[in-house]
């Protein structure tokens, strides 16, 4: 197997970020709280991992590692969760100065459970309440005001790439501003509650709309909904797990590509985020700006590399586990190996020890706070 020789016109697999471009991310910003789940379904409450999460944040982390200037925009609480979230994003080089803290408010936490062994290895569940104290971990931070957005995004220019994972007034305001300045908007909806004006407006503003075949709106696959046909994007990309990728062009054309997949994924969460980051890196911002003029051959090469990166990400725990444990050079070598042999190099996937070390012991937080999620317990608890 040698796919590289066919479709790889790019000299470098994952080129570093171009000078002068800055990437803004906005949408759903949360802390991921990950538990290991035993074969019997019981979550291990003694060891957890705290990771910055949300699609836009994850994409920014990958892009930062590839050498791009990135910043995340939004409002979060000022709790312990927010400290962990900032710390994790900053570790990748994401600028969090544009994450505005709301005093006394809580930051969203998503609780994940991943089975790392047994027949259901790779099974991933999500929740919104702490498995230790049952507290609902939703944010109560007020969203950014228009005036705040104006001041935070004064530097938006024609070299701004905006990556958005939720459609709301804030992200639409950002998208409007980026498009007015001649920048580029990528919309990757991870969740759409309803087909409202925010969604259609954001789709209309995006050059690239990327989504997974798991995305549904009101129980209907997103790609079959009328809003998916909203005029605007130069390209729609639907990832279809092991079935490959579907690319839709406004000129009444679609292309379905087959791509390599891995047999033993450990955690499929975040594969789409890694895909998008790699796609953005390979196509580059100018390519995204002129998607309609992009040669299909170049696009295919980018999609192939992105799909391989997404597949490699599933070998690791957590939505961006691959970014913690392997260098960009390791990643590029692995992509090249998959493209030429169909398999990553020996030792690229994490071993049992690395998987075990992914989780850290829970530190007692005193009687007033939950040791796992850090929320303050009610006086009667």
């Amino acid at each position: 197997m040698n796919r590289l020789s066919r479709r790889d016109p790019v000299a470098r697999l994952l080129p570093p970020g171009p000078d002068g471009w800055n990437v803004l991310g906005s949408g759903f910003v949360a802390l991921d709280l990950v538990h290991e789940v035993a074969a019997n379904g019981d979550a291990n409450l003694d060891r957890v991992a705290y990771l910055g999460g949300g699609t836009a944040s994850n994409i920014l982390c990958h892009l930062s590692r590839f050498g791009w200037q990135t910043a995340i925009v939004g409002a979060i609480g000022d709790d312990e969760t927010s400290v962990r979230l900032r710390s994790d994003l900053q570790a990748f080089g994401v600028d969090t100065a544009t994450l505005v803290p709301r005093p006394g408010r809580r930051t969203t936490t998503i609780v994940h459970g991943v089975q790392t062994r047994g027949p259901d290895r790779g099974r991933h569940t999500f929740g919104r309440s702490c498995l230790a104290c049952s507290e609902m971990l939703r944010s109560d931070a007020e969203p950014l005001e228009p005036a705040e957005i104006e001041s935070l995004t004064a530097a938006i220019n024609d070299r701004t790439l905006l990556i958005v994972d939720r459609a709301n007034p804030l992200t639409n305001m950002l998208a409007d501003k980026v498009r007015q300045q001649g920048g580029v908007v990528v919309f990757e909806p991870g969740h759409i509650k309803a087909a409202d004006e925010n969604v259609t407006r954001l789709i209309a503003n995006a050059q690239l709309l990327k989504f997974s075949d798991h995305l549904t709106v009101g129980g209907i696959p997103f790609r079959e909904t009328p809003i998916c046909r909203t005029n605007g994007p130069d390209m729609l990309i639907e990832t279809r797990s092991t079935e490959g990728v579907r690319v839709l062009f406004p000129e009444h054309r679609e292309i379905r590509l087959r791509v390599p997949s891995h047999r033993r994924p450990l955690d499929s969460a975040g594969a789409g985020d890694a895909f998008t980051a790699a796609l953005v890196a390979v196509i580059g911002p100018e390519g995204l700006r002129n998607l309609a003029a992009l040669e299909i051959r170049t696009l295919e090469a980018a999609i192939l590399i992105a799909q391989v990166v997404g597949g490699l990400a599933t070998l690791f725990l957590g939505a961006k586990g691959i970014a913690y444990d392997r260098s960009v050079e390791n990643l590029v070598d692995a992509v090249r190996a998959v493209l030429t042999t169909g398999e990553p190099p020996a030792g690229f996937a994490p071993n049992d020890l690395e998987i075990a070390h992914f989780f850290e012991p829970v530190v007692a937080n005193g009687d007033s706070k939950c040791s796992v999620c850090g929320t303050r317990k009610a006086p009667h608890a």
Binding site: R6, R7, E254, R256, I296
Partner: protein, 376 residues
């Protein structure tokens, strides 16, 4: 050409149509037609002329959807060369689709992997799934389905045509075939595991095998070993552009399969290399004669199950006839897909030059639909 509107279909045994597609369309085509055009795209430039003709002739139809099965064979020893050629052909094909006009237009380009890592054919399942997920949803809305067989791997073509035949038994179905006026030699090397396309015979069923032969003697041998037939009735091409081609095939086979397996020369049948309806008739005759023979000679020897299995190891025109017979008579095909193809660069370039000049006109074969409805 429409003979009636009864639901009963006659096979294209006595009445059939084939001729240059442009001449046919002048008398047949009109603005209200809703067309699905299907083609295979790989390293063979002969996929280009049919699409070019469709672009030129079908510009005013109501609906024109295209479904391009773009096949990838990662097991090909010549993968790099053939992939490069596929990219060149695809560039021509994409340009043609961009230039198309119709009131409604949509192009689907679907990549299909021919084999998995174990050299098992997986493309047939993939193409069927992708077809159903795209144009298959609207299959009943098309007035005409046109399939260009010129560069379509047989295993994909057979699977897709059988699928369409089952799902849309009453509709118009056409095949287009482009033949280049130069000798095109594509050497095959290796082949995947033989498999049945259609219902496999029961384990103890005796098999009467009717292979339509071409130059693929090695695959003939492999299929024989797989099927272990109790009798073989080979069909060789004659007449053909080269009138000796049939004799050459028999001579090649004589020193191998025919001799070793004691296939008597009296079993050999002939069918026109250029008219698929001829081999269709021969195969139908074999099946019908066998039915009569079994009815008249029921006894200890013929009381067992007996299945007629057909194989197409021949050129595309003959292969189309084999498929048509299999569809009409419910026959099972046995096929072994080659894993590597070798085409000389000069031949490829000559072929590309010929096919990209918009001069070659494909022949249309009316396989099913209005032409074959009985007068009732």
């Amino acid at each position: 050409m429409t003979l009636g509107s009864s639901a009963m279909h006659l096979p294209p045994y006595h009445v059939n149509y084939h001729g240059p597609f442009d001449q046919f369309w002048k008398s047949y085509g009109h603005r209200d037609r809703r067309i699905l055009f299907i083609f295979g795209a790989g390293y063979d430039p002969r996929a280009i002329p049919a699409l070019a003709t469709v672009r030129r002739l079908l510009g005013e139809v109501a609906t024109l959807d295209t479904f391009c099965a773009r096949f990838t064979n990662r097991s090909d020893d010549n993968f790099a060369d053939n992939s490069r050629r596929s990219d060149i052909c695809l560039a021509f094909l994409r340009q043609l689709t961009r230039e198309m006009t119709a009131k409604e237009l949509y192009h689907h380009e679907v990549e299909v992997d021919m084999f998995d890592d174990g050299l098992n054919v997986i493309g047939d399942q993939q193409i069927q799934t992708e077809f159903d997920d795209t144009v298959g949803r609207r299959l009943d809305t098309y007035t005409d389905v046109i399939v260009d067989v010129s560069a379509f791997p047989r295993v994909l073509l057979f699977t897709l045509l059988r699928h369409i035949w089952k799902r849309r038994p009453d509709g118009n179905l056409f095949a287009l075939l482009t033949e280049a006026p130069i000798e095109v030699r594509i050497a095959e090397r290796g082949h995947g595991t033989p498999r049945y396309l259609g219902d496999p015979p029961n384990r103890d069923t005796r098999i009467l095998w009717v292979p339509v032969l071409g130059a693929a003697i090695e695959r003939f041998r492999t299929l024989y070993e797989f099927l272990k037939p109790f009798d073989v009735v080979p069909i060789v091409p004659f007449p053909a552009k080269n009138p000796r081609v049939g004799d050459n095939i028999i001579i090649d086979a004589w020193h191998g399969p025919f001799d070793r397996w004691k296939v008597p020369l009296t079993n050999v049948m002939y069918a026109s290399a250029d008219n698929p309806f001829d081999v269709f008739r021969k195969l139908v005759d074999v099946v019908e004669s066998l039915k009569v023979f079994r009815d008249e000679n029921a006894g200890p020897y013929y009381d067992q199950d007996l299945s007629v299995i057909v194989s197409a190891l021949s050129g595309r025109s003959l292969s189309l006839g084999v498929l048509l017979a299999a569809l009409h008579e419910g026959l099972t095909l046995c096929h072994s897909q080659p894993t590597s193809y070798e085409l000389e660069e000069k031949t490829f370039l000559d072929l590309l030059a010929l096919c990209s000049r918009d001069e070659l006109v494909p022949t249309v074969y009316w396989l099913a639909g209005d032409l074959y409805r009985s007068a009732g």
